[in-house]
């Protein structure tokens, strides 16, 4: 959802910017006194500034309500399955590789050598969640699978020449059923 939103927003805003710049570029031939332009321009700028700040405040307010950072209390209350994830050049080692739909999972992600990136992809190769895998640190990602199937963990932080082969498949099943969702 966020990928689609980011794409649409970017296309619309960049197009709008192009229209503004092209419009102004076409209005340069006739010279008029700068003073009135400055006075009017500064008046408009106040509203432009207030509008931008307002949009940023609203975006901040809504986007910060649902941060992906680990909430230990909530994870404990949900009885999340704890999975230890270790990154190595160039493979992933997971303490468990099978999961169930609807079951909260807490991925404790670390690295045993260099920086890696833990990127969780669905069957359509859409990125669902990620965190960095760092030597000496454990980053926690909470995730609940909503569909059965085969998921992939890709490395999302450059870790040397085998970076692109660092892929791990995990399986998500319906509770008490198969990974394709057909019980």
């Amino acid at each position: 959802m966020y990928q689609q939103l980011a794409w649409i927003l970017t296309v619309i805003l960049v197009f709008a910017l192009a229209v503004v710049f092209l419009t102004i570029a076409r209005k340069t031939a006739r010279r008029v006194d700068y003073q009135p332009i400055q006075e009017k321009g500064y008046r408009i700028r106040k509203y432009w500034f207030i509008s931008l700040v307002s949009v940023m405040v609203i975006a901040t307010f809504f986007s910060l309500r649902n941060l992906p950072y680990h909430d230990a209390t909530a994870a404990a209350a949900s009885g999340a399955k704890v999975v230890n994830v270790e990154g190595y050049q160039f493979y992933w080692k997971l303490s468990q590789e099978e999961f169930f739909v609807g079951e909260p999972v807490q991925f404790n992600v670390t690295s045993m050598d260099v920086n890696h990136g833990f990127g969780l992809y669905d069957e359509n190769m859409q990125l669902l969640a990620q965190t960095q895998a760092m030597p000496g640190y454990t980053n926690v990602v909470d995730f609940t699978f909503t569909k059965p199937g085969k998921y992939q963990i890709l490395c999302l932080e450059y870790c040397s020449v085998g970076h692109h082969v660092m892929v791990k498949e995990i399986v998500v099943k319906e509770k008490g059923g198969a990974s394709d969702g057909k019980n």
């Binding site: 980011a6 500034f49 454990t138």
Partner: protein
Amino acid sequence: MAKTDTNYPITSLAKKGVVGHLAVTATVLILMMAFGIIMLFNQGGLITISPDLFYSIMTVHGIGMIGMASLGGAAIMWYFLSKYVPLNPKVLMVNLVLSVIGIAMILIAAFVFKFSDAWTFLYPLPSISAKQHGMAGAMFFLNGVLLIGVGFLIMYLEIGRKIAKQYGGLMNGLGWDMIFGKTDKHYGPPAAVVASTMVVICNSTAILAGATVIVMSIVNILNPSIVFDALLAKHLTYAFGHIFANATIYMAVVGVYEILAKYADRPWKANKVFLIAWNFSTLFTLMIYTHHLLMDFAVPKWMLLIGQIFSYANGLPVMVVTAYGALMIVYRSGLRWDMASGLMFLAMFGWVAGAVPAIIDATIVVNHVMHNTKWVPGHFHTYMGLGVTIMIIAFMYYYNKAEGNRRDHSWDRISAAFYTVFFLGLTGSFLYAGKISAPRRWAVHLPEWMLSDIVGGISACFILAATISFTLRFFANVKYTKTANTSEEMIQETTNLMKKTS
């Protein structure tokens, strides 16, 4: 033509330094673009190179493009700033020489010793690689980058020292005396001085952070028993990398202030709003590197929130003051578009357009599903390719016109049109690949990601052709530029040229 605050002549040696910087910039740019095409076609399955070579090329492409933008930005900044502040041109030459040696060392590291740890060389990767492939590659690379950093630091110290001397303190270069009511002046220093002060503060900090992490890496390579905290190293790496890359445009934008104001025959004065905006830009640029760490959950949450909130805020100075000012200054100005003025104006669009996907990606919930996908190069290729690089190319044309009375050719406009259209194609392909979650820095791509790579690669071929054209035109015309005329003569020449063309 507007009257400028010209005080000092630009010396012959300074001009040689500026042209030298531009020559190295253009050469490196073309080479790095060719590397970019090779990577995209390899990802798109059209050609096949070994992953080892791919990642060596990727490493050089990253550091090369940042270095190119820094050298080009430095040329612009030095050229215009030296009108207001008497700079020692020998320092500019020192920067050029150290940069060329540094570039040679980086190329040796990558293509002789197969160094491939990316331009971000995240600790402890260089040490691990050195154990596997020998330490020569890492040593050449890290010391090469360090040498380039030393050159730039010497240059910033010279600029900072002279600004402080001229304006009674470095912070007065950012207009603090006016902002805090210690002077009756209505305007602060020239925009070139304000921007240069900001760059001196930000990039000196960045270089010190970078030097620290480079020394840490070197120590760890020489003695693996001495280890450092990986998260601290990451902070230092991005405090260096983000700020240094970001500041390239703050050096180059000096050309926008000078050239658009001159062509529009309107003053671009540093009023209070302008100065406050640049002070906030300085602060935000130093702070917002933490948006590179949004997926490092071990970082304190308040620091990550700063990464989002101040990344948003960092868009305000450019959107409300600099880009808005560019629109105002050309509007109904009677300005005649040529390569210099047109490309400088286009670059302001590129800057703001590049900021849009960056600000969106700095939103933590978005970053969670887009960080380290191709969305990220989509943002910074817009910023660098349609912003900084366009400013540098615009300055090349301005320089030849101002110093050598050289005129644009219709071929230049065709090249500019090709460059712009296909650059939008390239950045569009990157952003689309980010939307479909294609990871960045992968030598081999899945079939579903390849179409965007091919579109990007073909677009990049046209961009490269246009850039070669710009460069050939620059080299062909630069020989006509004089080496000893003063700024006043330059202004007179430009005025005469404008009258002729109108």
